[in-house]
Subunit: 279 residues, 2 copies
């Protein structure tokens, strides 16, 4: 049992990035989707306070803001700039009324082969950002990304690694994002979900399916729910068994979906969520 229904669904903005923010909020409200996950760039372009009002007036909740992170730089100026940018992301999350800022940790600096060192620099950054986030009512949610992104995007590749980092800090400051796309291959992930749940550290849960062949660059090939290899209901059940009762975001980066009518994709996504994850 996943204990999921439409009341738990959130549509991540990237799934239908062809929709403007007003189109997105209109379509979600009309479809009975109560939540949206937002991205910083389109929100900044629209205006953060205006976006907050738009979502609020539509009766929607902002479930996460994507994304902070990119905390692996060695250069002091680059590190200071990254911390400042992450504080701004926390500020934006607070204005939007979401309690969760998703963190994509960052890849190896150019020329570096030191994954361990990069992971430790993330911990250093979290020590600075965690209290700042807490004081703004925002929790940081480290997202392990699939190991195929370890070099150039995110040196945190597994839930175990993400929790090893998060558990150095209070759960009200730092937790994890569980995204099926990134962890579905990992037979140790179910017990890491249980570990995360026991610690109150599942700060976000996202769904995407795994389809092949992967496109060049491997960024925009996330599958529509039900099209791929992931047993989404099973993973939803693991998260439910870990005590998570929060929103479930569908976050798809998919060139094929972006070429279609956004409202049609939204309707399809709702239907797929109910068919493949809920119940």
């Amino acid at each position: 049992m996943t204990d999921l229904d439409l009341s738990r669904l959130s549509l991540n903005q990237m799934t239908v990035r062809q929709l403007s923010l007003p189109e997105l909020t209109d379509a979600c409200a009309a479809s009975g989707v109560p939540g949206v996950g937002l991205w910083r760039e389109p929100v900044q372009a629209y205006g953060v306070r205006a976006a907050a009002k738009l979502v609020r007036d539509a009766g929607l909740t902002v479930t996460t803001l994507c994304r902070g992170g990119f905390l692996t730089a060695v250069d002091p100026d680059a590190r200071a700039a990254a911390l400042a940018d992450n504080r701004r992301a926390v500020d934006e999350a607070a204005v939007l009324g979401t309690g969760t800022l998703v963190l994509v940790s960052g890849g190896l600096p150019p020329g570096s082969r030191d994954l361990h060192g990069a992971r430790e620099r993330i911990a250093d950054a979290l020590a600075a950002l965690g209290p700042y986030a807490e004081s703004h009512g925002v929790r940081l949610a480290i997202e392990p990304l699939h190991p195929m992104y370890a070099a150039d995007r995110c040196v945190v590749s597994t839930l175990a690694q993400a929790l090893d980092l998060a558990e150095r800090f209070p759960a009200r400051q730092v937790g994890v994002t569980v995204d099926t796309y990134h962890i579905w291959w990992d037979d140790t992930a179910p017990r890491q979900i249980a570990r995360a749940g026991a610690g109150g550290r599942i700060h976000a849960f996202q769904l995407a399916d795994w389809t092949t062949p992967l496109p060049a660059g491997v960024l925009n090939g996330r599958g529509q729910l039900g099209d791929g290899a992931i047993d989404l209901r099973q993973w939803s059940a693991y998260v439910a068994a870990a005590g998570y009762t929060g929103p479930v975001e569908v976050e798809l980066f998919n060139e094929g979906l972006w070429e279609r009518d956004g409202r049609e994709v939204l309707a399809e996504t709702v239907e797929r969520f109910l068919r493949h994850a809920a119940g």
Copy 2:
């Protein structure tokens, strides 16, 4: 310390697939490379016994035969065909005089989302193949492939999973292939290498570097040694510390390398091996 020098190097045939088998053995012998890793298809095309003689006459050793595996089918006829094909692969390995058959386990059957079931079917197959291989003086070497291949190529994604399978059988029948390309992101892999070494189960060790962006389909983007994110000397040291003293194969699938002169690529690979892994 990796304790590696040219006497340990083996060139996997796929690295310079533009070379014919006689060109490959000539070039290796001329360059002081004592080993070659062979693939079934070109060996079959040349003739297995003729290939064995060619390599022997050149004074080279066949370090591995690639590859058996693809053992995840559900359909009984498909399973029987896979087992028969793997027995032929063992026969070919024996003729070539190599003690190691590399296994790529296979992906999910079409429409399946059951990774656990697929992994169990691999174990069932190994129970049949292990004794056959042993009776022919061949060891099976399960190769965990990077998690990006979990759906369509290999449901065994980590050294831990590979060892969980291998350890159900005697080490003289079943061990693992350690390939830096597939495991470099995994912070638990060093202790799994130690586990494999302690059990006498490192049956093959292969080097390739990780470069980005990945090409479409993610099959042929393995980086030349030194071009990417992997600390090859560190991984070689882990394998050495685990007691492994066997050959080190360089196996690169790379469209860019295949477009170049094969002898030039071979010379470059030797130089990169000495610079980035040996010593």
